[in-house]
């Protein structure tokens, strides 16, 4: 990590640290895990499944629809787990580094809470789904080698922020969906509560690093915007897992995935999922309007 090229990060995090302390809970004892989940209940809100709003959903039998909510819930929680694995490894390598000394107190809360989230997501998947979906393959020779050290640093925290904001769109909805089993609703509710602090922190550190990028070379900002746009598209794509379609007994999973991703109802849904993030990126000056097509 080329920390010398990055100015020390100092943020006003007292309020977030106090909230993390006063809201601390024991995740290992706070949930009441039932032996099994009622078979007639969806595990994920039907309106949040990847076929919602399309004829592809209507063509499914009720059994397939319920199975899809189950496997897409397992996919959603698996994505959370793999996303947390990535962000933890990045943040652990930065805590108490000179650049991050000013925010290390908050990073302790962040790392601890993320580890706990990973635990309860994995509990749900393994208890009720019997598995996690594997992480999608990634290439270590990454897509950011053309960027400066400070821009690459920004991308690390941008990926964390975008991932958290997308997940929170789902959590916020499912936290109050009374049609879901209690345990599914509770996990979403608790996660939503903690993530509001993480998103607030993520936005602050994003703005700090973006200012550093713009100060060093304003011409690099559109390149960052281009990467972020690709990352948003990539993130949406991960929600459409053909393995979940296959597990739900739906044939031609890959062709279905392609059709679903392009369907106008889904494109509108993607805009909703990304609305808050896009608004933020545009407001701070790194939105998709900077991307040359």
């Amino acid at each position: 990590m080329a920390v010398r090229e990055i100015e020390p990060i100092d943020l006003a995090l007292d309020r977030l640290e106090l909230m993390a302390e006063s809201g601390y809970y024991n995740p290992y004892t706070m949930f009441d895990w039932p032996e099994a989940i009622e078979p007639d209940k969806p595990w994920m809100s039907e309106s949040l499944t990847t076929l919602a709003g399309t004829p592809m959903w209507d063509e499914l039998t009720r059994e397939q629809q319920l199975a899809l909510t189950r496997y897409e819930a397992i996919n959603f929680f698996s994505l959370n787990i793999h996303g947390i694995r990535e962000l933890l490894s990045e943040v652990v390598m930065r805590i108490h580094d000179r650049t991050y000394a000013g925010v290390s107190e908050f990073l302790h809360h962040f790392i601890g809470e993320e580890n706990e989230h990973m635990w309860f997501f994995a509990q749900f998947c393994l208890r009720y789904g019997g598995k996690l979906y594997p992480a999608q393959p990634s290439l270590r020779a990454d897509s950011v080698e053309h960027l400066s050290a400070v821009a690459r640093e920004l991308i690390v925290f941008a990926r964390i922020l975008i991932f958290e904001e997308i997940v929170d769109h789902y959590n916020a909805h499912m936290a109050t969906d009374m049609g879901l089993p209690v345990i599914a609703r509770e996990i979403n509710r608790v996660h939503h509560q903690d993530e509001s602090r993480h998103v607030a922190f993520g936005r602050m550190i994003f703005v700090n690093l973006l200012e550093q990028v713009a100060k060093r070379d304003p011409d690099e900002v559109p390149l960052v915007a281009e990467y972020l746009e690709s990352y948003l598209t990539y993130s949406i794509g991960t929600l459409y897992n053909p393995a979940a379609y296959r597990d739900a007994g739906i044939p031609d999973a890959l062709a279905l995935r392609r059709r679903a991703l392009e369907h106008p109802a889904r494109l509108a849904a993607h805009e909703q999922i990304l609305k808050r993030t896009r608004k933020f990126l545009s407001k701070v000056g790194v939105g998709r309007e900077l991307v040359k097509r």
Binding site: P134, A135, Q136, P137, S138, L139, A141, D142, S143, E145, H146, S230, Y231, T233, Y234, G237, T238, P242, L254, A255, R257, R258
Partner: protein, 81 residues
């Protein structure tokens, strides 16, 4: 070139608008013609074209490095396992 390899080429060219030519031996990964964010979609395309599933936890990157390697691994008679 068969239709499957044409689809593979189209996928890469569509995502690399500044690329005029695509040689069979270009290192697609080192040149970032297929980058990390596009790799998952590329795997799904290969799965759809071959009808064969690819285990994301058991990949040999060299199978994806050049068009020649992709054709040999996925689209020749010997590739059928």
């Amino acid at each position: 070139m068969n239709d499957q390899m044409r689809a593979v080429r189209d996928f890469i060219l569509q995502r690399n608008s500044t690329m005029d030519t695509l040689s069979d031996d270009l290192d697609l990964i080192d040149s970032r013609a297929i980058n990390s964010l596009a790799f998952v979609e590329f795997i799904f395309l290969l799965e759809e074209l071959t009808g064969e599933s690819i285990d994301p936890e058991d990949l040999d990157l060299d199978d994806f490095r050049t068009l020649t390697a992709i054709e040999a691994r996925f689209f020749t008679r010997e590739a059928v396992r």
